[in-house]
Each structure stands twice: as C-alpha cells, then as structure tokens.
Amino acid sequence: MGEESKAVVHGTWASAFTKRVELALKIKGIPFEYVEENLRNKSPLLLKYNPVHKKVPVLVHNGKPICESVIILEYIDETWPSGTKLLPQEPYQRAKFRFWAAYIEQLLESVAKLFNAEKAAQGKALEEVHEKLRILEDGVKEFYFVEKSPDHVHAEKLGMLDIMMVGHLVAFKAQEEVLGVKIIDPEKNPFIASWIQALIQLPIVKETLPPHDNMVGLLQFVKQTGIKLMDKSRGHDRGLESKLQSST
C-alpha cells in the first residue's frame, strides 16, 4: 500500500509543463518523488506510462499514470481536495477557468511560433503574442483577481491559471534574452507583467523553476540547431479542422 499510494512525477528540468505539476503538488503539500527523463532516450517506464504521446509530464499515483499537464492539475485538485483549491467549486467559475486554461495553451503555441520563427517573420509573430496576451489580460482580470491586484498570489494560494503561467516564466525570460525581444512588455500588458512579477517573487516558484542561465543555454542551443519548440500535433491546420467541424 505504501509503495502504491505515493506520487511520482516523470518530467524534464526544462519542461514548463512538468513545472506546473511539481508546483501544484507542492502547493497542496503532497510529497512526491521526481524522475528526470531523457527525451532523447526515453525510459521504458515513460513509454509504458504514456504510450500514446511518449511525453512528459506524467504523474503516477497509486501505480496509475495520468498524462497531459492540465488533466494532471485537475486530477490533483480532485484527488487531494483539502488545502488550496486549484479550481473554484462553482460550475460557471470552473468553466471560465477551463476556457482560459485552453486560451493560455494557445498563447503558448504563439510564443513557441515566435521562438521558431525566422528573423523576417519575428515581428508578426511577436504581434500575435502581444495580441493574445492582451486578450488574456482583459479576460482574466475581470474574474480572477479581487480588487484588481494579485493578492492571492502573495499568499502563495496559487490556482490553476497562476500555475500554468508561472511554469513558463523562466522560459519567457530566457526566450526574451535569446531572441532580443520583449515578450512580457509592461507597457503593452501591464496587468500580465505585474501578475508575473508577483509570481516570480514567491519562494515556492523560485525553488521550482530552473535557473535562468541554464534555460538560456538550452534555448540558444535549440535555436542554433533549428529544433522546433512544441512541434507536435499542434502545428496542424486549425482552419481545416475548424471547417470540418463548425462551418455551414
């Protein structure tokens, strides 16, 4: 029973999606074991636990694997309901959280697109990121922060949306340095900038996120070798699928 009931996170040090899971467990006070995976030489365990996507993070709890970071966050919230709630209880508020969680993922795809872009395409890609950040800002500040200031952040009572954003903070800063652009620009997105500033001060965040210099080194290597970030099924033609499903 002791062996099975423990929580194990399979991840990589640079994966922001892995950081989300580690943070969520720490916020809930759930002890866990961490296994660093090598994505260029995937362990038999990882392939067993995530045969469909062969990716990190995977949370293994009671011997059963849970995959996909947002699904893992909801699992954590439902399995350990006491303590800080990652999602609100009320169905409409939960729906809003889930909607914006999906939007944050789209924002991150745009950030990956910016990183992968050739120099000539960077300007347009950066505009797309800022536009999405603006939409996120307008959407989230209405319902997420009491009195328009991230008070709950200071109390380390992070919710799912905080966790999703914070996982990527070191990556954002490192990408800004490698690309020479401002992704989180306090003039364009003041609310997001102050939200992120509050998050990055927290001890729990500082101890979980990878060191800035390590991330810069990794991203420089990625850029030089031409490896594409987040290059998965998300690169597909949303227009086609949208048409297949929704248009008349």
Binding site: V52, H61, N62, K64, I66, C67, E68, I71, I72, E74, Y75, E78, T79, P91, Y92, R94, A95, R98, F99, A102, Y103, I135, G139, S233, R234, H236, D237, L240, E241, S242, K243, L244, Q245, S246, S247, T248
Partner: protein, 224 residues
Amino acid sequence: MAEEVKLFRTWSSGYALRIVWALKLKGIEYETIFEDLTNKSPSLLQYNPIHGKVPVLVHDGKPVCESLVILEYVDETWKHNPLLPQDPCEKSMARFWANFGDDKLMKSISQLFIAREKDQDVAAVEALENLKLVEEQLKGKKFFHGETIGYLDLAFGWFADFVSILEEIMSLKLVDGERFPHLSSWIQHFIDAPVIRDCWPPRDKMIIKFQVMREKYLAAATPK
C-alpha cells in the same frame, strides 16, 4: 425559478451536437439558435467574442464556450444522469481520450480527407494508427464508459457520422469490421441509440457540404 438555457449552434457542427445530446440525456429544455458562420449574429459575437465559434451555451445569461468545457459544465450543473465517471483517475482518462480525439485523431482524419488519391495511402497510415488506439479503448465495452452513453461517446460522436461521409466521398473503407470490430460495433450502437439518432444533420446535405469543401482544398493544393 425557471431556468433559461440557450444553445448557439450550426446545422452541421459535430461539436455542437455534443451539447444537443448532453442536454437531451439530462432532459434539459433549451432554445436553439442556429448560426450562419459567414454572417454571425451580434449575440454570438457578444457571447463568444474571442473565438466567435459554436457551440455556445448560455445559461441564465452566462455564456460557456468550447464544447468539452460546456460538457463538463452541463455535467456539473445538472448532476443527474452523469456523463463523466466519478473516480478522478477514470475522469482523467476520459479527458485524455477526448483531447486525443480532438487533436491527433481529428488532424489525421482531416489530412486523409484532403489527400490527393496518390497520397491517400500515406495519409491513411496515421489515421489508422490512431483508430487502432481508439479500438483498444472499446474492447469489452458497448460504449466508451460501459453499458450507457457518456462523455467520451459524445466527444467521439462527430466521428461516428463523419467516417461514413468520408468513406462515401472518397470511395474508400476506413473502418472495416474485420480490422476494427469494436469501433465498428460502437459506431452502429451509437448512431442508432434513441437519444442520439434523431439529432443527426441530413446526410445528403452533409455529403454535399463536405464534397464542396474537399474539392476546394484539392483545387487550392494543385500546383499552377
């Protein structure tokens, strides 16, 4: 207090059908607003300003967007006849496979659908691999969650209809009974299920719509 429930949809959207079925399974009365996405109503743009898409569920004036988010909202708001499993691990699996259906499966089916004849065999490889994974999930079960229709059946519902449309337009057999016995059987059970079968859009209209769409893509892809 009487509730007001509205559903913005189109006549053909498989994602909107998820909500039609969910509301029917729960016995919820609602008003339907059919949208023409080439000429979106001010209401749709007000309720879904960011994406301007269907479906949108409006419950007592509060809009909920994104069909899988709406399904969970419906399930959490009207708790009878639950759609999702109660156990957190099984719930996670359901969400995982719904995402798989909307991402990997949808992508591979779309790519096959617009493939030129000479490219079809290659395009079919990924689609078939993904279908094998879905087939595995249905082993020993009538529906994804067991004996009764639930969240995952609604999530994959678009596929149950679209596969025969694709097969007819492209004159190929994608889901054959020998290679995919469980998936074939699920399709049959699902499309004929009492709550499901009266909701399908007219097949002849669907064939025309998708034929036109496919021809447009093929024409655009042809080198000049």
